[in-house]
Symmetry: C2
Subunit: 153 residues, 2 copies
């Protein structure tokens, strides 16, 4: 059944999606949806970490001590949307909030030692997943694709 569906989608792609098949945005979206599904089936299934949480973890790990407001800025979401995420990562024992010595309103976010350990593991899983996902591309094609994508933002 999955093969049949895939086959029919392939065969009717031109007629099913009309002029959209000429649009970059259309293919960008489809590829991105496929990437999320792939991530969910490997990394999220094994480690319980969504793409969003993984991104937050990496930003915290690479910018140790940053504030929640700064994290929100980097992730380009509202400050209020960060609260839940930080709670989740804290409850998982992956990060900690440290009171700032100079500003009592603010927290410094840092990885816990368990978090650092977990991130090394997750990072490997993500790297493998990313390679698997792009298995249809040669290493050169993969690099080329990344460089083209970067020119869009």
């Amino acid at each position: 059944m999955p093969m049949t569906q895939a086959k029919s989608l392939d065969a009717e792609a031109e007629t099913s999606f009309g002029p959209m098949t000429e649009e970059l945005g259309f293919h960008l979206r489809r590829a991105q949806v496929a990437a999320f599904k792939h991530f969910a089936q490997s990394v999220t299934a094994a480690e319980g970490i969504t793409p969003g949480l993984y991104g937050m973890l990496q930003v915290i790990a690479s910018n140790s001590g940053l504030s929640q407001s700064r994290l929100a800025e980097v992730m380009e979401v509202d400050r209020s949307s960060i609260v839940k995420v930080v709670n989740q990562l804290t409850e998982k024992g992956l990060i900690k909030r440290e009171a700032s010595a100079t500003d009592r309103r603010s927290y410094h976010l840092r990885m816990t030692s368990e978090g650092k350990l977990a991130l090394r593991r997750i990072e490997d899983a993500v790297a493998r997943q990313d390679r698997e996902f792009s298995a249809g591309l040669s290493e050169d094609a993969r690099r080329l694709l990344i460089s083209l994508l970067k020119r869009l933002y």
Copy 2:
């Protein structure tokens, strides 16, 4: 302020996002978010049509008479998620539900004449938007990018 932010993100990109900058999924997501924002600022602002609704419209236009279940299949969402969308497009006068002559449970979805007219206009707006969004790429680079993206799904 936007320029300052963009500049600081560029300058710190390597340190802010860590190993993610090596991942295809990371760049795919950023490009896709940028594409949605661009679409929202041009097409959605001018025509009140989101990327999702536009996709539905094109699939209905290219597969006139298809059922809601078939539309859900093509869009890869649940049947129940289609109901609201079909209602919205019907209320906007862009599509109509026609009773099936052979199966009284089922509807055939079709564009209204106003819908066809509107779609021609929206289609042009989207085509312009898509070119603007990919203005940083030559025509060849754009085609290359699309062909690379297709190899991911």
